[in-house]
Assembly symmetry: C2
Homo-oligomer: 165 residues x 2
């Protein structure tokens, strides 16, 4: 079964929160996301990459409408030793390619990253799986980013061969 990108989507009405110095021990991620769930906050993406020196860093993306509730939680978490600090970034956008067998097809994610790179769009966060590759970028670059990624996978002239050498 051929891997295929079936769509490109973008989301600008989101914010990104990164919790710093989360103790890298069992139960911390559970605490953070249980607290968010109790406030009925919809979390779109969760990204935690390998920690360093027993300190984890958890990034999550949420719809704008939930940011205030999340900010209250951030204060509780700081007071409770769940994180030393948090950065909240309102000017972000999430660009995704959706398809099948994305991960087991070397190069599909690379083509998305290359499309953004050629536009000089910096990739802040990446989360990928078999069915979706999502990049978090600066909000004001969303439109250019969607166009670039869309043209990469659905070229305007109908030529479906990968771009680049």
């Amino acid at each position: 079964e051929q891997a295929e990108v079936v769509g490109v989507s973008s989301d600008r009405k989101i914010a990104k929160i990164t919790l710093l110095d989360v103790p890298d021990e069992p139960g911390l991620a559970a605490r953070v996301f249980q607290d968010l769930a109790a406030e009925e906050v919809n979390v779109r993406l969760i990204i935690q990459s390998a920690s360093s020196e027993s300190r984890g860093r958890i990034t999550f993306v949420l719809d704008d409408e939930y940011v205030e509730r999340a900010e209250l939680l951030v204060e509780q978490w700081k007071a409770g030793g769940v994180a030393s600090d948090a950065s909240i970034d309102h000017d972000v956008a999430k660009i995704s390619i959706v398809g099948s067998r994305l991960a087991s097809t070397p190069g599909l994610a690379a083509r998305m990253f290359a499309a953004l790179g050629r536009e000089r769009i910096n990739i802040d966060c990446i989360s990928s799986s078999e069915m979706k590759v999502a990049c978090v970028i600066r909000g004001d670059q969303a439109q250019r980013a969607v166009r670039a990624v869309h043209d990469e996978f659905f070229p305007p002239d109908g030529d479906k061969s990968p771009s680049g050498g």
Copy 2:
């Protein structure tokens, strides 16, 4: 449409590579994954969380069979200034819950993390989307992890209510 977890899966024949100090500039992620694609390396997960001080950190999970090729690339990347160093961890497992509307249903990811937390299983990396939440943990904890997450979403006694308070 009710959100639902339809399955729990695990993967132990994988390794995790984290590239350190990747310049946080356009084109770097593209370079890394284009190089991997050129070597036909299947990448299962890509996780990059928000960088600090212009230095990015990119973690990716790949099947064991591709680790040697990736290690050769790591040396090239270090020589080429793409990363200052890389850590390669062979003893990892990926545990995933798969379903629909996972992200827009507060609490599903939290239940997975809580199931692992109660078993004192530390979560090293997290990558989530609407259809899948994947956690990278220590390889030797995979069996216990799968059982705990499976029992959380498919309780043995048939009681489908969420566990915990």
